[in-house]
């Protein structure tokens, strides 16, 4: 298959790549760019573990072709903390015990960042709705919601 040239901006860094067009953004992030923080849970758009921000909007990276992200800005979990300083949501996840096995955590954190940008003071229902596409098998979602609420209510 012929390769296509594209430019991917990930966490503020530009990458010039040559890829086969069928490759998913998820696989390119993990394998070609070594950014393994974005997790693969199903590669079929169901679990949300691969959530990244594409121009600030949450998407399942497995459902985006890398070539579709050409010229766009991608934010992965590695791009959330700045100079070692954790984002308030990351600190809240730690404080509220919102991570157990941690596999859903990167996707949850990114989706929550997008939610709070869009809806700074979401209700419990709005949080549940926003997270509906991020499966978690360990936590039962309670402490994840509490962590998000604590940041939304400005207690962080």
């Amino acid at each position: 298959m012929t390769r296509q040239s594209l430019g991917l901006k990930v966490n503020g860094t530009s990458h010039a790549l040559e890829l086969e067009p069928h490759r998913s953004l998820l696989n390119v992030l993990r394998e070609d760019l070594g950014l393994t923080g974005t997790k693969k849970g199903c590669h079929s758009g169901h679990c949300g573990a691969c959530t990244v921000l594409l121009d600030g909007a949450p998407v399942n990276a497995c459902m985006v072709l890398a070539v579709q992200a050409d010229g766009h800005e991608v934010t992965t979990i590695e791009g959330v903390a700045v100079d070692g300083q954790l984002h308030p949501l990351q600190e809240a996840f730690i404080e509220y015990g919102a991570s157990q096995c941690g596999y859903c955590t990167p996707g949850m954190v990114l989706n929550s960042i997008a939610l709070l940008r869009e809806t700074p003071r979401p209700t419990r229902s709005e949080i549940q709705e926003a997270l509906a596409g991020n499966l978690c098998r360990c936590t039962g979602y309670v402490q994840i919601i509490e962590a998000i609420q604590s940041v939304a209510n400005g207690s962080k």
Partner: protein, 769 residues
């Protein structure tokens, strides 16, 4: 010593930062120099004879290093937990037993190329008729999956107590019912993954997500004839296990790839492969009969359990054992006769899943109790109270220990949480139901031979700079064992948490610790750790006593120092003391070896109560959980945030089991191969109100009084929901998962006012199983 400065606090998990920043490396994230990628060729048929495997086309494809069949494997090609009868690769001439049996493997330079080559491996099969239910497999003349297992019986258990003939003879009311539970998938977010390589000394290294590094090493040795001293297994941080990664999953296949292809290899299953491959919760058919007096006193219980073992043994004997004791629950039953059997089929494999048979038993037991209550026209809670085990008395089953916490206390607490029964709005098609159920979940205390009676070890080392390392052979699944061990070590030496490093799951650096299952690690590893730290404290105090010219009894550990009691100014910094000990040749690395003092075969147990208020809409069948409460006797809570995390997570898994999860197979083929078909609870499925309470009664032999609670969290919620639904709509629920269409069908049959009595639905409860 300063007590309680770290123990009992919701300190942040020691692995939390790595997890929230994406820095934590799971098995599938590991990159090795020169790493290749593996792919397994699974049998498309649940039962077929492998006639011929033609690898030529696959071997010729780009990027392919090696295509492997049974012929290429050294060793016996057999492994397995209790019976070594699983093939690594099914050879030509032998039969497959389920669609998760592997017939070939490919190692290539990329995952994609490996997949393409795997699809090109040409296998000729003689397709044969599979056995797709235990009852079919039990029929006379059914083919035998394993020659040694007559009647396809994997294992069986029987328990007799008293005389049920006498008991039923004395009973004034007898009820009987059969319940069906489906196959539940663990659905951990991280699919099976691992990397393996052989180093220059010929030692095999396997890094993978697993729950038993020793068991995996054993299986690699059995299957591939590699000497044990040359097998290094290191558990990586696990992205969820729940028992699905307890038995060896892909590690033998991975090891074979690395050894035969002679390159480092990474193997990761995709979600569909994961769904077909690892063992799941045993589907069961449970018939229970209860006899009682008019006053509600239970006289006799008789029960039979038929479980679908799938193609291989594994954990079936243990699951049956726990199902059997679960049938009795926290009630006084003077006459018991129960029988359980697990039967081989060509369906998906069955094995370990949080609860190990207790969740299935809890459903049958609590639902038949409600049935008895209805027959007696007695309040279901009152019926249970009349039969509660009293504090201090031993439950009927011989496997269980004493009970320090009273069920009456749990009842009081859960009633306080539930408050008055809600009332449906006027003219609403919603019906309100409530149920309160009880359970007696178990955890291993090192008194069960196969789990840990032979001992559990942990190593603690004090470094010369005052830091501490702990080596423990269990694995971190997300349950928090790493943090709990760090907390204990920090408490023992009065050091800040950051000075403690815990290394888990390495069969070389950690002493034998048994499996990460049975809710056993906090208890077992904790006790082993305390033995090790106890000896280290003695060593440190002896040296400090010498340096400070006092008796060791006059010293204590406080704030990273060793101080003279009452004279805090006279102190040694822990780090300085450690350096002196190092210089003087003191032994600073100790292994604690914990063996239970119990001489009988028993589990520790805990009590719990679960209650639910539901609103069922008889016009649409929709089920809404208004309130869900769990009260659990938790022992000493070492880290409240983590302990409650377990309770919430377990309750929601239990909710999924009751209302939406079913791994459906038809003719041995999987009909639910993705999260689109196999629904697990999302954030939208939370009850409107969801609360949990822990009662802290220290467990006498537990480290700091702690008990195991990981599985307890899951047992009780499903039956509570089922009974609440039954209470709401007067429909007996005897199969799960319960869905809208079942409610509608049952409600329409009854022609309840408010329901749309139109065409009969063709769904029945049992068709879903």
């Amino acid at each position: 010593m300063t007590h309680g400065s770290i123990i009992g606090k919701s300190v942040p998990r020691v692995d939390a930062r790595g997890k929230v920043t994406g820095q934590t490396k799971y098995a599938g994230d590991i990159q090795l120099p020169g790493m290749h990628h593996g792919k397994i060729v699974f049998s498309p048929h649940p039962r077929a004879r492998v006639i011929e495997i033609d690898c030529r086309a696959a071997q010729a494809m780009p990027g392919v290093t090696k295509v492997i069949t049974a012929r290429d494997l050294p060793g016996s090609n057999r492994y397995g937990y209790d019976v070594a009868h699983r093939p690594v690769l099914v050879p030509e001439g032998e039969e497959t037993r389920y669609i998760g049996d592997a017939v070939a493997m490919v190692v290539a330079t990329s995952e994609e190329l490996a997949s393409l080559a795997a699809a090109a491996v040409a296998v000729r099969y003689e397709v044969l008729a599979p056995l797709t239910s235990p009852r079919q497999a039990m029929e006379a003349g059914a083919y035998l999956l394993h020659a040694a297992a007559a009647g396809n019986r994997c294992c069986q258990r029987e328990f007799v107590h008293g005389d049920v003939a006498v008991g039923f003879g004395a009973a004034e009311v007898v009820v009987e019912h059969t319940y069906f539970t489906p196959r539940q998938e663990q659905a951990f977010l991280e699919p099976e993954a691992g990397v393996a390589y052989r180093d220059d000394a010929g030692v095999l290294h396997v890094l993978s997500c697993l729950q038993d590094p020793y068991g995996v090493a054993e299986d690699i040795h059995l299957a591939l004839a590699i000497p044990k001293s040359r097998i290094h297994v290191k558990g990586t941080p696990v992205g969820g296990g729940f028992g699905g990664k307890l038995n060896t999953t892909i590690q033998v296949h991975l090891a074979a790839m690395a050894c035969v292809a002679e390159v480092p290899v990474r193997l990761v299953l995709d979600r569909a492969e994961s769904f077909i491959f690892h063992p799941k919760r045993h589907p069961t058919e449970i018939r229970l009969k209860l006899g009682a007096g008019r006053d509600g006193t239970i006289h006799a219980l008789e029960g039979t359990v038929i479980a679908d073992a799938g193609p291989y043994s594994g954990r079936s004997p243990e699951v049956l054992g726990l199902t059997m004791s679960g049938l009795l629950g926290p009630y006084r039953i003077p006459n018991v006769l129960t029988r359980a059997e697990a039967i081989y089929t060509n369906n998906l494999d069955s094995g370990a899943f949080r609860g190990f048979g207790a969740p299935q038993a809890a459903i049958a037991r609590e639902c038949v109790l409600d049935k008895l209550a209805r027959a007696l026209a007695m309040d279901p809670l009152e019926l249970r109270r009349r039969n509660f085990i009293q504090p201090g008395s031993r439950p009927t089953s011989p496997m269980l220990g004493d009970s320090p916490v009273s069920l009456e206390l749990l009842t009081k607490r859960i009633l306080a949480h539930m408050g008055p029964r809600p009332i449906a709005p006027k003219n609403s098609t919603k019906r309100i139901g409530r149920s309160i159920c009880f359970d007696m979940p178990v955890f291993d205390v090192g008194a069960i031979p196969v789990l840990g009676k032979s001992g559990v070890g942990a190593t603690v080392e004090v470094h010369s700079d005052g830091g501490v390392s702990v080596y423990a052979g269990g694995t971190e699944l997300g349950q928090g064992i790493t943090t709990v061990l760090a907390q204990m070590a920090a408490e023992q030496f009065a050091l800040p948490l950051e000075r403690i490093r815990v290394d888990m799951g390495d069969n070389w650096t950690s002493p034998r610790a048994g499996r990460t299952s049975a809710s056993r690690l906090t208890f077992g590893l904790g006790n082993a750790l305390l033995l090790a730290t106890g000896r280290l404290r003695q060593t440190l105090l002896a040296r400090a006593a010498q340096m400070l010219e006092v008796a060791a009894e006059d010293l204590l550990f406080e704030d990273a120092e060793v101080r003279i009691k009452g004279v805090p100014a006279k102190a040694l910094a822990f780090a300085d003391l450690a350096q002196v000990c190092w210089d003087r040749g003191d032994q600073l690395r100790q292994e604690g070896w914990f063996r239970s003092a119990e001489d009988r075969y028993m589990y520790g147990h805990t009590f719990m109560a679960a209650a639910a208020d539901v609103a069922v809409d008889i016009a649409t069948g929709e089920i809404e959980i208004l309130k869900l409460a769990n009260v659990l006797d938790m022992g000493k809570v070492l880290n409240p945030a983590m302990a409650f995390g377990q309770l919430y997570g377990g309750a929601i898994q239990s909710l999924g089991y009751g209302l939406m999860e079913n791994m459906v197979t038809v003719d041995g083929q999987l009909k639910t191969p993705s999260f689109a078909e196999y629904a697990i609870p999302t954030a939208l499925d939370l009850p409107r109100e969801f609360l949990a309470e822990g009662i802290e009664t220290p467990y006498p032999t537990g480290p700091y009084g702690a008990k195991g609670i990981g599985e307890a969290a899951l047992n009780c919620t499903t039956p509570t929901l089922l009974n609440a639904i039954a209470d709401a709509v007067g429909v007996e629920v005897d199969a799960i998962p319960v869905a809208q269409e079942h409610i509608l069908a049952a409600v329409r049959k009854q022609n309840l006012p408010g329901s749309r009595a139109q065409t009969e639905s063709k769904w029945t409860q049992k068709e879903i199983v």
